[in-house]
Subunit: 196 residues, 4 copies
Amino acid sequence: MGKARLEAFSDGVLAIVITIMVLELKVPHGEGLGTLVPLVPVFLSYVLSFVYVGIYWTNHHHMLHASHTVTGSVLWANLHLLFWLSLVPFTTGWMGENHFASLPAAAYGFVLLMAAIAYWILQQRIIASQGTGSILKSAVGRDWKGKISPFLYVAAIAIAFVQPWVSIAIYAAVALVWVIPDRRIERALGGKTSQP
Amino acid sequence: MGKARLEAFSDGVLAIVITIMVLELKVPHGEGLGTLVPLVPVFLSYVLSFVYVGIYWTNHHHMLHASHTVTGSVLWANLHLLFWLSLVPFTTGWMGENHFASLPAAAYGFVLLMAAIAYWILQQRIIASQGTGSILKSAVGRDWKGKISPFLYVAAIAIAFVQPWVSIAIYAAVALVWVIPDRRIERALGGKTSQP
Amino acid sequence: MGKARLEAFSDGVLAIVITIMVLELKVPHGEGLGTLVPLVPVFLSYVLSFVYVGIYWTNHHHMLHASHTVTGSVLWANLHLLFWLSLVPFTTGWMGENHFASLPAAAYGFVLLMAAIAYWILQQRIIASQGTGSILKSAVGRDWKGKISPFLYVAAIAIAFVQPWVSIAIYAAVALVWVIPDRRIERALGGKTSQP
Amino acid sequence: MGKARLEAFSDGVLAIVITIMVLELKVPHGEGLGTLVPLVPVFLSYVLSFVYVGIYWTNHHHMLHASHTVTGSVLWANLHLLFWLSLVPFTTGWMGENHFASLPAAAYGFVLLMAAIAYWILQQRIIASQGTGSILKSAVGRDWKGKISPFLYVAAIAIAFVQPWVSIAIYAAVALVWVIPDRRIERALGGKTSQP
């Protein structure tokens, strides 16, 4: 069974997820600079989530590049990942509208954590479907980024109830680590292949 | 006539259907845990519908995999299926906002029933277009899942006016039966090929 | 220059147009049957527009099937068609919310008329790009459906100011003529290739 | 690494961007001609932005046509471009709702300017990835349109605070220059390849 439709469907969902987030940036009714001020946190949340969905799209792209066939369990593991990513616009909007308050900031991290776990499950399903000598398994390698991110999300969720801005800083730092190209690894692997 | 655009268009519509449902999860205006409580039934409806649309996407994928050409009547049978699936966000939102009340729960089942019928029509149109020795026909085989689901929907619609939670349980059970991989069948058929 | 992206982009826009129309079917706040009554005209408008966009998608599919390369003017003629089709959700919602009143019914027909003209321009641009011996030109042939539809739209627009329900009947009749397969022609042409 | 998914994802995002702009054309509650009057500036903004997104899509199409592989930095340069284009519906809606007031008109130009810069960065990244003898580099050539547009945007942003209608005229003029086919160049280059 080919992977073309899996990619097309995932591209469609991710394209919509990344674009409907901008609908939370509600067009203000006035024309002054002051009407933009309440939008600043919403905009910042949008930028952060745009980067995260972008990372997922890029890595999903690389991961499927190292795959050739998809099984039924890969289809469902992929839908599971898309489910958690589809909740990103909700937590983004909630966090932005409440100016990075504790609970919304924790919820934002929770969805990132679940998406990271879902990505890991998808990766394992693909590796399992490839059997011994899996191309993806050797491409993933030690994957320190993929292993450390979930712990940072858990820490950020806990910290959100004390000092939410620290959590935001952690989310931003994790995103940055994933965006900055790790050229040595990219050369070796032909692309990043884990979740952020 | 190729099937590539039929798949691309269906993927597009299904990706949008699955994603706009999340827009019914309206971002709450407060930041407390209490603001999430009214969203719980909306969220549960979303999960159920996400699974249903996921099943349809997966099975549509398998069904078209067993097809090579599309005729005019297949195009329209496919649009007919997409029409009913496009109403899922509406019934999902209505059922969620009314905490699984009778009429919305029945309406939810009605749209599932019509989608199941539309899927069956599409299957018959493809089989007819393949003539004798249809690959799809032998792949579908006895198809007990596809045959029993419509009766369960009809039952759930009737029960909704007495005890809507029982209907919801039926919808969830049907979804579960479709998601749980039937490995013996999958091996034989190379994939599930009916509607839920 | 290939036609793959032209098809992919058009499929994307048409999939979104057909799906966002359903957003006008606003989830009612009550749970009774009465809350559905004001949605009936909105739903009927949705069905009509779904069929029209479906016809456009099907015919666009056939028309590009008979094309191999796309020029810059074909790209823009296609964008022009998508522009008018993108206004269908607006006129659909307006007509539905106002229970098929005169001006909204006329506006609905105006957008259909402009889309038909845009489709015709696109067809001419493709035929011109194919030069003498154009496959599309011979496939289109006499095209009585494509020639008569614009006159019916103009008539319906005028009639809308007197008796809007007659206009709706004309729109529905035109759609029906396009949906009903003209098997003799389909066999000859390998598909319908004009605008509705 | 192939370019197919980059194109598919970009097509998806651009298709959604171009279509959600129409959601700002809110369905009026009355049925009279007067209810359409406040929509006129929103509609005009929509037309202008539709043309701009269309230009970006067309040129993106041409630019990637002259590319064969994509690197990690190309993926991110492309996401950066999509980010700025995803803000077009916001500035379009804001400008339309405020009848082309100063600040919204300047914000509209600012997003166009950033998108033009992002397009230029993407172009440079692709040229760099192609090394010496880059096909794209020679196709871009002198690119007077691409070089002059940013200066016109900067001028229009400044002028918006004095006479916003002049800014709008500049935006419209720039769009026109890009839409009008430059046949001599098209013949030489096989397509326009810069940002508007």
